[in-house]
Amino acid sequence: MLTYILRRLGLAVLTLWLLSVIVFVAGQILPGDPGRAILGPLAAESAVRALDHQLGVDRPLIVQYWTWITGLLHGNMGTSYSYRAPVAPFIGSALVNSLKLAALAFVIVVPLGIGGGVIAALYAGKPADRIISVAGLSAATVPEFVSGIVLIVVFAVELKWLPNQASAGAGAPFGSQLRHLILPAIPLVLVLFGYIARMARAGTIEALNSDYARTATLKGLPRSVVIRRHILRNSLLPTITVIATQTGYLVGGLVVVEHLFTYQGIGNLIWTAANGKDFPMLEAGVLTLGAVYMVATLIADVLYTVLNPRLRLGGEQ
């Protein structure tokens, strides 16, 4: 068990390092140099070169990478080109905002997805199953901004029930913040629903066809008890993994949703940094998202092992 977690941790660190290299390389092959981007097309060549030197972008790549990665390990994420201030506080507050939005989406989608999947499995092959499966799959492939726009048109512009902006303003009460986050959370819910429902459906069908389910039915237990006690407990295990892996997906979706609903989250921060060629901000933002994703999958894997008695006991022998 412990060796498994350690190995898993090692793999996560390795992937994170690979991500840092990818992010750094992508940041470095960006056309145009940062000095020029900051000072504008009219600045003198000497001023651009002086700023490049001050920013350190005229040094060899490997030296730059080393400075950047050692800085990161010491908690220094660099200085934003656009704001002329340390990156870390921006990332921190944006991440908190994003996590609020993501948490709301998960609170809605997890019961909904599991419920939908279990219903689909119990009526496998019947119209209810087909509707849930096809609708879930379709909802999952409709881009978040498409459903987001339909929601804004209907609920914010026409009906005026909910605000079309996600930010409630600094220090707003919890209720107001929640009200502002409902519309942005729905597109994320729609995308995630299909995946979670499909996994819950597959797990439930497998459990339904198992010997222990048949035994439980044959010994005369009512169907509801069989489903609750024998089937759900076994079918939901793989679903946990899917829910955690979908965090990665959620993270990608955040860029779009936060941009659409003008929410000061990490997705919007990355978008602004990319548009302004603010490399330190962009690199730190993407790497933070990668780290969040790694942590989520790590937790999922560990949870899966802890919850599955076969793996748990197998590891201790």
Binding site: L14, T15, L18, L19, I22, V23, A26, G27, I29, L30, P31, S133, V134, L137, S138, T141, V142, P143, E144, F145, V146, S147, I149, V150, I152, V153, A156, V157, E158, N164, G248, Y249, V251, G252, G253, V255, V256, H259, L260, I270, W271, A274, N275, L282, V286, L289, G290, Y293, M294, T297
Partner: protein, 293 residues
């Protein structure tokens, strides 16, 4: 080749070929979901091919005296901020998204199939090394990776196709690899080896035809995801550049006035994207079912 694997061969092979390509097509045409998806898809393909002939107006012609006009008899879908006809832009806009999505899915499928075949068939060190890299790439959100690289090299049609194609390669390689692993155990490959066929020739003429159904399903699924990715990148302003009509790009350009009540400029391109992805899914879902039966 182990004995149990050899025993399972006849059953596995008789299951695989119930009939030719004709019967597969006939089974597909009998599915209402396939027909519904196919009709919508055909509609957009016709729009993509002959859009400029069908469109009632020039999609790039600006009428600065009729900006933000609501839907009317003259402009069914209204006009945008520059007075361009939204209906015409939606019709002609199908071209860029279909072209880029299909091209990138083809690129990803070809590269991914080649990689998956090699990994699955050769196994060993090649499989191990390529597998690590594939896992690392898969650990990153697709949109973020694509976004990062498009920001890096600048948006253009070619860049979009290349980046999305490359991002999809490991995903397809993983699917193909697992199909190949099943095939590798079967007798016909041992026979081919004993006949003296080379590795490349076995992969191309023996393994590939047998994993092709899985590849085709993966391809249709990937086209759906490619549409998602292209539309998303365009919406973020890193896709097809104006003034070319493009659904995601048009939404990006006009969603700023959405709150002012000019909903038609963004809603219609959004519905077009939704109809296209749903159509692709209906087709992919029925293809998967027919090939699995």
């Amino acid at each position: 080749m182990s004995a149990p694997a050899a025993l399972s061969v006849p059953a596995a092979q008789s299951q695989r070929r119930p009939g030719g390509a004709n019967s597969t097509l006939r089974m597909l045409l009998r599915k209402p979901t396939f027909l519904a998806g196919g009709v919508i898809l055909l509609f957009w393909v016709v729009c993509a091919a002959f859009g400029s002939l069908i469109a009632p107006h020039d999609p790039t012609a600006q009428q600065l005296l009729a900006t933000n006009a609501p839907p009317s008899a003259a402009h069914w879908f209204g006009t945008d901020q520059l007075g361009r006809d939204v209906l015409s832009r939606v019709i002609v806009g199908s071209r860029s998204i279909l072209l880029i999505s299909v091209a990138s899915a083809v690129l990803g499928t070809v590269l991914g199939t080649a990689l998956g075949l090699t990994m699955g068939y050769l196994g060993g060190l090649v499989d191990l090394l390529a597998g690590r890299v594939v896992e690392a790439v898969l650990a990153l959100p697709v949109v973020i990776v694509a976004f990062l690289f498009i920001v890096a090299v600048g948006p253009s049609t070619g860049t979009l196709i290349l980046v999305i194609g490359f991002v999809f390669t490991p995903l397809i390689a993983r699917t193909v690899r697992s199909s190949v692993l099943v095939e590798r155990q079967l007798d016909y490959l041992a026979s081919a080896r004993l006949l003296g066929a080379g590795r490349v020739s076995i992969m191309a003429t023996e393994v590939l035809p047998n994993v092709l159904p899985a590849v085709m399903v993966e391809f249709t699924v990937r086209v759906g995801y490619a549409i998602f990715t292209v539309a998303t990148l365009s919406f973020l302003g890193f896709g097809v550049q104006p003034p070319t009509p493009d659904w995601g790009g048009d939404i990006y350009a006009n969603y700023g006035v959405l709150a002012a009540g000019y909903w038609w400029e963004t809603l219609f391109p959004a519905l077009a994207i939704a109809s296209l992805v749903v159509a692709i899914n209906l087709v992919a879902d029925s293809a998967e079912q027919v090939l699995a039966s």
